[in-house]
């Protein structure tokens, strides 16, 4: 004959099993829903994002950074300052003048090479009339430019004009380049 305590234990055991089964069913249903709706871990991935891949990439990047540092420092070893002085600009290819007639203005774009800072002087003349303007130099890694040469057509007139740009770097000598442009 089973004892009272044995019967009680059996009842408790059955209760726990039932609760666990219910829990499993609920979790299964939730996972099923997530799978069907492609959410959470079932969301599609378009590129490798596992933590291991990222860690490997980071190691590669770090290695590259270390190498870059080492290269940089090797290059500058023994040098007080690894920079180079701004090369002296030469007239022929240091100033490029790119005029364009647009609407009621003649826009004069410029490309300045080896002019990290300074000023530009614009002169436009046709023999009888001269237009002048000044602008600062704006630096960019590929080429600098003169800021702000947009000449109203009312200041000019139709015909051929000679455009001169004088670029004066800070602490350096000026250079001048000239081009001609037909205003229509």
């Amino acid at each position: 004959m089973r004892s009272l305590s044995t019967r009680r234990h059996r009842k408790l055991y059955r209760l726990i099993v039932v609760i666990l089964l219910c829990l499993l069913l609920a979790i299964g249903a939730a996972i099923g829903y997530l799978y069907v709706s492609k959410k959470w871990i079932f969301a599609p991935q378009t590129s490798p994002t596992s933590q291991q891949t990222i860690e490997k990439q980071k190691e590669a990047e770090q290695s590259l950074e270390n190498k870059s540092k080492d290269t940089y420092l090797h290059q500058t070893n023994g040098v007080d300052n690894p920079g180079v002085e701004v090369p002296i600009a030469s007239t022929s290819d240091s100033i490029r003048i790119l005029p364009e007639q647009s609407g009621q203005s003649v826009i004069i774009r410029t490309q300045l090479f080896e002019y990290p800072s300074g000023t530009c002087s614009l002169s436009i003349e046709n023999g009888s009339k001269t237009y002048r303007s000044e602008a600062d130099i704006l630096y960019q890694s590929e080429y600098s430019t003169c800021q702000g040469f947009s000449v109203p057509l009312s200041e000019l007139g139709s015909g051929r004009w000679t455009i001169s740009i004088k670029a004066t770097p800070v602490g350096g000598l000026s250079n001048i380049n000239t081009t001609s442009f037909e205003v229509k």
Binding site: I16, L20, L23, L24, I27, W40, I41, Q45, T46, S47, P48, T49, S50, Q51, I54, K56, Q57, K58, A60, E61, L64, E65, K69, Y72, L73, H74, N77, G78, V79, D80, N81, P82, G83, V84, E85, V86, S92, D93, R96, L98, S102, I107, I108, R109, Q111, P116, S117, L138, Q140, S141, E142, Y143, T145, C146, Q147, G148, F149, S150, V170, G171
Partner: protein
């Protein structure tokens, strides 16, 4: 065994949830990259994004330790860093990391390096700071403020441009600080290497110049003469060399022309590039500063390296920003839910493009609950609760919304707090100011109804135009309330009319006056009763309730007197002017003992009603005691002479009353010549005997 099985099952379930969660954290992937929109303007130019302290804390978080003495080993050599640095770079310890670095700012280009504290420490181990030197955090902050560039942008530029990079390097060499931001470092060195210009050396000048260049690019890219990257699809420029020879377009097969927004993958032209329809000025500025975009190989290896044509500057800027600071795109931020009103006819818009959505226009004056906002280059926009909940990208331009105005009350009102309360900002419902205890009385002069909630604003706050009010659900109006039963009451002491709201006095009210009162108010702990006349006229004056009392019934006759009704009457409540049902017929006999005089009219109450304290009486002039009229009150009088009691109708004489006798008289009989008073005794027995009033005096 069973227990183990159960435990293992539970453990497995728990682990199965935990493991995937750790993998579900968001990482930056190639499909998230938008070449046309690296970062939004409002994010890039948020100069107040970090304080100096926050920048310093952040840098220390990136670089928590510094291998100052180079004790760690350099992998490849087996040497310590100290030995390696000395042997290879000629640099001695101590090294100075970014978080310990100070420099006297260099403010103009020159070939001289600025004075700094590299390698110098105090005896207590703290970094030595030369006079006038400032920290890296301060330099970043100053540059951000000066040029209105986000310090976060400058930190990331530092992280992506400096050798090391300095933000991560725990054993940097001095020269790594010289060109830390890559400013004035064109890629015209051998093999496209950066070739920094010595005049722009120095950490402080690099930081300042980098911010200066970025600001210059932002401010000038709308100009007609602008030759670099710009917002939009770009414009075609002539592409020729110095001799006028047409050059090939980097991004297409054209010759002699190239789009301004053609951005290469890397320095070698052979890598090619694409034209980008740039969507923000900040993105265009970044491409102008670092004129390369990441190719597919660089994007697919987001945290690593790509191929020979991969450039990483702008990719890393975007990726590192996302990793450190979150999205580079202006996002909606939640706000305390606030009710606002459409101030001018408006439509919901796409904040990024500035174009209107297809939603119906919002009517002017309509109230809307707003729960998030976003700031883009098109302005600040507020999003409705519905659109926020469903994450719809449409919002209302802030300038089309306003806070609803308070409305002045037609006349001031007094309110009393029913509960401990706070004034609230009515647009959010948030409490402000200190608690106001229940029972507090406030004078309010304006109100506001926001989102269906009515609130009242005090006179003080109205005059000061403060946006705070008390919700109406917390208050009750202090106003005269009508009596359920208007009643007559008597003034018990000399007093005066009083307006408790304006605290002003009116005319005098004398003791003994009777008033019919029909409304009352409790104010500042006192009650005030208002007469019917003043109630009808709307006057705010009343009589202090403490100066009023109920008009009492008075035992007038020492013994009940039997009287006869001379007419049909209804009993009434003399003080309330209420008629009781039922009619007493003329000729009915009633025993009365009490009277009440209200506003000069005397009423008698039957002995029965008096015994049960019933508020019922009838006019004294509707009863007679035999042929005699009851007096309104018994009178104690004294005979002045010896006088006969007589029958006033016939003149018959009865017993003689000696002079000086004191008698109580309750009824009277008037003839054409005299008035006769009958004693209480004779009245009780209805004896037709009375004494001429001319023989009597009051006692």
């Amino acid at each position: 065994m069973k227990k183990i099985l159960i435990f293992a099952t539970i453990t497995a379930l728990v682990v199965s949830f935990v493991a995937p969660v750790s993998q579900a954290n968001a990482t930056i992937t190639a499909d998230m990259w938008r070449a046309e929109r690296i970062i939004d303007d409002v994010v890039f130019t948020n100069a107040s994004a970090m304080t100096v302290g926050e920048i310093d804390t952040f840098l220390k978080k990136l670089l928590p330790t510094c291998d100052r003495w180079g004790v760690k080993t350099v992998n490849s050599s087996g040497l310590t860093r100290a030995q390696y640095a000395l042997d290879t770079y000629g640099v001695r310890t101590p090294f100075t990391c970014l978080t310990d670095y100070y420099e006297i700012p260099k403010t103009a280009p020159s070939t001289t390096l600025p004075i700094n504290n590299y390698g110098k420490y105090n005896t207590d181990g703290s970094p030595y700071v030369p006079a006038g030197a400032i920290s890296v955090a301060q330099m970043i902050y100053n540059a951000g403020q000066k040029y209105q560039i986000s310090p976060q942008a400058l930190i990331i530029k530092l992280a992506t441009e400096s050798p090391g990079p300095l933000t991560r390097d725990d054993w940097p060499m001095p020269s790594q600080y010289y060109y830390a931001m890559g400013a004035h470092c064109p890629d015209d060195g051998p093999g496209g290497a950066a070739n920094c210009r010595v005049e722009w050396s120095g950490f402080s000048l690099q930081m300042d110049e980098a911010a200066n260049l970025l600001r210059g690019y932002l401010d000038n890219m709308d100009q007609s003469w602008w030759p670099y990257k710009r917002v939009g699809p770009g414009v075609d420029f002539v592409k020729k060399d110095a001799n006028g020879v047409a050059l090939k377009d980097l991004c297409s097969s054209r010759v002699g022309f190239q789009n301004s927004n053609c951005i290469g993958w890397n320095v070698p032209a052979s890598c090619g590039g694409t034209v980008i329809n740039i969507q923000s000025k900040a993105t265009a500025a970044l491409y102008t500063y670092t004129p390369y975009q990441p190719n597919q190989a660089a994007l697919l290896n987001m945290y690593g390296t790509g191929d020979a044509c991969s450039a990483y500057g702008n990719r890393n800027f975007w990726r590192v920003w996302n990793d450190w600071f979150g999205s580079t795109v202006a996002t909606y931020t939640p706000i305390t839910p606030e009710w606002m009103q459409v101030s001018s006819s408006a439509q919901k818009m796409n904040p990024q493009t500035g174009s209107a959505t297809s939603d119906a226009p919002l009517a002017t004056g309509s109230e809307i609950l707003l729960t998030s906002k976003i700031t883009t280059s098109n302005g600040t926009f507020y999003r409705t609760q519905y659109d926020t909940n469903y994450n719809l990208n449409k919002a209302i331009l802030a300038q089309n919304m306003k806070l609803k105005d308070f409305v002045n009350l037609s006349s001031p009102m007094w309110i009393r707090l029913k509960y401990d309360s706070h004034k609230q900002y009515p647009y959010t419902g948030y409490n402000i100011d200190n608690k106001i205890p229940a029972g507090t009385e406030l004078k309010v002069t304006s109100k506001i109804d926001v989102g269906g909630s009515l609130s009242y604003r005090t006179e003080y706050d109205t005059n000061a135009n403060l946006l705070k009010a008390v919700p109406s659900v917390f208050v009750e109006e202090i106003a005269y309330q009508p009596f359920q039963e208007p009643r007559w009451m008597r003034v018990v002491k000399d007093t005066a009319y009083y307006d408790p709201f304006s605290k002003t006095y009116g005319s005098t009210v004398l003791k003994g006056q009777d008033f019919k009162l029909s409304s009352k108010v409790d104010f500042s702990g006192k009650a005030y009763s208002r007469t019917s006349e003043l109630t009808s006229s709307g006057s705010m004056f009343a009589i202090p309730a403490a100066d009023l009392a109920e008009i009492p019934y008075v035992i007038t006759y020492n013994s009940p007197i039997r009287v006869t009704l001379t007419t049909d009457v209804k009993k009434i409540s003399p003080t309330k002017d209420i008629e009781w049902p039922g009619t007493l017929l003329a000729g009915s006999n009633v025993s009365v003992s009490e009277t009440i005089t209200v506003n000069g009219i005397t009423y008698v109450r039957s002995s029965y009603d008096a015994a049960y304290k019933l508020d019922k009486a009838f006019p004294i002039n509707s009863v007679r005691s035999g042929d005699y009229l009851l007096m309104t009150e018994s009178r104690k009088m004294k005979t002045t002479v010896d006088v006969y009691k007589v029958n006033p109708k016939t003149g018959q004489k009865f017993e003689i009353i000696k002079a000086g006798s004191v008698l109580y008289f309750v009824a009277k009989y008037s003839t054409t010549t005299d008035t006769y008073l009958r004693t209480e005794y004779d009245n009780l027995y209805n004896l037709d005997k009375a004494i001429p009033i001319s023989s009597l005096v009051n006692v």
